[in-house]
Assembly symmetry: C2
Homo-oligomer: 185 residues x 2
DNA sequence: GTCTATATTGCGATAGAC
DNA sequence: GTCTATCGCAATATAGAC
């Protein structure tokens, strides 16, 4: 019998509930009561698995770290190249990574120092990879900023129509960004 | 005697205090108690000028509206053109507009619908102006996303070193963005 | 592991004196 | 116009039964 990958099934359900409340509503809405209710346990039950709210935050940030590492690996080996992969994957809200990034962003906005440090290091990872794929470092930065902009819009203005309206617009945006990437230094 | 532009001196001091707590700390830190203390009045004194926290939010959003209108006018008439003006003015945290935008962004992140609507309309104004200055609409959008990205970084990762490290890097970034703007459709 | 109290603190808002 | 005092509520966390 292999060691169970997730020590407890409720632990993950609680973490999912916390993440959902953060992304779908707000940092303020993600109270212990609300998380417990959504996860289908009592507050006491929740606090058995995560002994404080801070422990809950740590849980999200560990999940983020894991997902970011996986993403960087996929970006590194993407068939259409890292730049194409990066921009397309910036259209938020779909993947598990997107959800966890948004959750962490809400915590960072709530002035949580650990969350800010995690996001900062995550961004450093992406920038480093973009810089290795693009000859001009300033172009790499501009590309990262476009991706950040797309994220920012979906984080801050969730119920607004997405900045990037549809697939056709996304294709044209990717084409433009690839042009920037190919630009000689 | 002209009508006083600001009906009450403490009213503005209270609004400044609210804005400072939002930008320097977080939405959660900007409690009525904290705002009153920083403005140098009692909680009762604060509530005489703003009868609820929602009224305080409205005060910030009205200030934002006024500052955005001024900014769009300056961008329209900027000597080096709207694109140059837009990107340079995205390096956040200096002007009165920057501070108020960040304050509104914190409120938007706290799921405040009015704040989200204000930021959305503000963004619409900038995008429309960029589109009128740049022949390719997708280039206009990319330029706006770069600006948004710079903002997003200073909002979410305030104590991290700015993404745009120094004036030299900013000049190279502006040059790149102007290249994008000049790109034929 | 999960539950029901309950202690404690902090917040938004009201009431009424000055 | 500014103050103090206080109510009502919600949030984090603890204690201890099952």
């Amino acid at each position: 019998m292999p060691p169970s990958p997730s020590p407890s099934p409720s632990r993950d359900r609680i973490l999912d509930a916390f993440e959902e409340l953060l992304t779908e509503q707000s940092e303020r809405a993600a109270t212990l009561d609300a998380v417990a209710a959504r996860a289908g346990v009592s507050k006491g039950g929740l606090l058995y698995h995560f002994s404080s709210k801070d422990a809950l935050v740590d849980g999200i940030l560990e999940r983020l770290q894991r997902l970011v590492d996986d993403d960087l690996e996929r970006m590194r080996t993407a068939p259409a190249g890292p730049v194409d992969y990066f921009v397309r994957s910036s259209v938020s809200s779909q993947s598990a990574l997107d959800r966890t990034v948004i959750a962490a962003a809400r915590l960072a906005q709530g002035a949580n120092p650990k969350a800010r440090a995690s996001l900062s290091s995550m961004q450093g990872g992406w920038l480093a990879l973009l810089e290795s794929a693009v000859s001009d470092p300033i172009a790499a930065k501009a590309i990262m900023l476009v991706g950040d902009g797309i994220y920012y819009n979906s984080v801050l203005l969730p119920e607004t129509a997405s900045v990037v309206r549809d697939d056709a617009e996304m294709d044209r945006l990717v084409a433009l960004v690839l042009e920037i990437a190919a630009r000689p230094r």
